[in-house]
Symmetry: C2
Amino acid sequence: MTRFASGVSNLRSSQIRDLMSLATRPGIISFAGGMPGNELFPLAEMDEIYNDLTEREKQVAMQYGPTCGLPSLIESLNSYLKEKGLPVDTHKLLITTGSLQAINILANAFIDAGDSVITENPSFIGALSAFKSYSADIQTVDLDSDGISLEKLALKLDSMERKPKFLYITPTFHNPAGMLYSKERRIALIEMMKDRDIPVIEDDAYGDLYFYEDDLEDIRPMIAYPHEGVEICYTGSFSKIIGPGLRLGYMLVPPHIYDKCELIKQSVDACSPSFTQVIADKFIRSGAVKKYLNEVRQEYKLRAEAMHKALKSSMPEYVSWNKPQGGFYVWVKLPKGINSMSLLKPAIDKGVVFVAGSTFDPYAAKDDCLRISYCNTPVEVINKGVPIIAEAIKDAYKQLELK
Amino acid sequence: MTRFASGVSNLRSSQIRDLMSLATRPGIISFAGGMPGNELFPLAEMDEIYNDLTEREKQVAMQYGPTCGLPSLIESLNSYLKEKGLPVDTHKLLITTGSLQAINILANAFIDAGDSVITENPSFIGALSAFKSYSADIQTVDLDSDGISLEKLALKLDSMERKPKFLYITPTFHNPAGMLYSKERRIALIEMMKDRDIPVIEDDAYGDLYFYEDDLEDIRPMIAYPHEGVEICYTGSFSKIIGPGLRLGYMLVPPHIYDKCELIKQSVDACSPSFTQVIADKFIRSGAVKKYLNEVRQEYKLRAEAMHKALKSSMPEYVSWNKPQGGFYVWVKLPKGINSMSLLKPAIDKGVVFVAGSTFDPYAAKDDCLRISYCNTPVEVINKGVPIIAEAIKDAYKQLELK
């Protein structure tokens, strides 16, 4: 009956729902969520912004706005992105209702039923759902420690009968893999995609949450590099830099793609919430965003380092993971023979929930990793929860040896 | 390349954009908009609500919420709708990002490319765009003074080779036709659709904006009538009862349709803005909504009556229109030989903008009416603007006679 129902298995959706309900069970330690910690929101700044709004600004906040976004927010966001080196003069900004909507609209613009697209494996589940909802054939390419494997990508491209409609990647603080594409990989990927007429969707929801100034060169978005011959559609989010409840994101895309996307957005929800756009604009314009980001970066860094330390002291030697440099996630690699889904129940029984790795594989096949996030759990909870996962892994390993 | 681009003509979209830019040109009198007047928004109530929020409530406002909507808003909206006689016990509520999103998600759930749907002619342009974006074949049925013509609907249904996926209607204070289905027509339509397995989408964005208590019986939504054997999907909006800038709407639908729509919403924008949901919840819960609606009803009624009076005193006898009983619009019928689009340029040159009737025909063919809205213009502006449209019509009529 629907493209969507045929694309997304109900099993997976109900599984996610179960996880979500467990993740909020009183007393359980959740490393499952991908949301900022409640205690980290800039409530005082919000209050100040709201109470400083003029009557006229409040009227704008209550009214419909242009489909592309409020002019004032587009202006301030343009400056913010320009400062980061993004090509705001040659590309156009479209404000969206969260960055998932940006990805969804791009998918709508590019995909006709049955078209192929390429994603990383693992990949962001929201994007996978969106692509499936347009009946895309999702082809995947593995990551290595520097980013998407160029060798495997070349093989994939050569093996495909019809050109894929786009390549979707998350080069910076990957969800779920936590990793960061190296500068070299970014440049080599642009070179490889040159003149192929396959747009690249660069999802950068986490780029502002770097922990180490030394990485600044590495997290420079691909769209900020010279990329003649490759169309890059960049998507970003306000969810990690202010709060997801504002439901604001954006895309920065070549003008002809923008035109299509604006038309689609018009029929999707007419415009994004003016109310939260007014607030986001003030948050950027006042400079509060930079101050706030400095604070949350410090806090997430603390949590990430605590998680890395807890993993080091509790995990057996046959388990490995990335040392987080930013973002929300650690991607824990399990030894051969143990799959992540089988650990979920024992871990939950002991009071900890995470997300099984196969959740991030469009075919739910690869299950040799698990995702634990530190974004939403204070250090003492991390120290309590990580050893419990380690125990579950060790138990499974023992049983494996007994077989 | 995209389903959407093939569905919506760029001409029409650019025409709307031109209109929109003219409608906001300084000094021009605009009867084109479908937005509430800026001066009518409940800013004082918003301030009070915002400043009374607890820290915990503000955290909820900043965070992701459930895809279906915040539990507290679902609870308060359920009560609000129950009081209006809506079947909240047998149907399920899904909060959406504006009611256009509710219509778009239903379209996504029901339509596969090439499927037919039936709408009224004229019909809400946002819905038409959404249906076109899923490559629907849109079949239309004319309205008469009591609602959709049952005779023509029966002929249409008999003539169609494949069953349409749904019937989309706006029985209460129609956009653009301004009219109200009679009680008898509502009941007869339910009877006619019985056991046909064609769901009815009942769009009720304007139902709360009635002007006369006597009409209360007539505006009772179709979903509130017994309707065994007909699946009714009801959509509503917060745009007219608080403000469009909140981007909140909802659908009240049978459970099995709800399940599909919730899955779709998950991949569209994950959830609607928590920030504005928290505020909308308080607005309903505190009773402010009722007080506010009483106030705006009075103001819109004043404007509507002024417009009716201005039309009576300035329009020639060969022009007719509905006397508005609620909502935002008057639908002005032109004499044979004059089309609405041809009046637009002369009217704009004289300083008034409206929306040409053909805008609301999915095939841009029927153009014997024009839509003027009184929602966004104070009485003195209405009194100044309506005679200008009358002049443009009289001029066109004279030229018609000279031919």
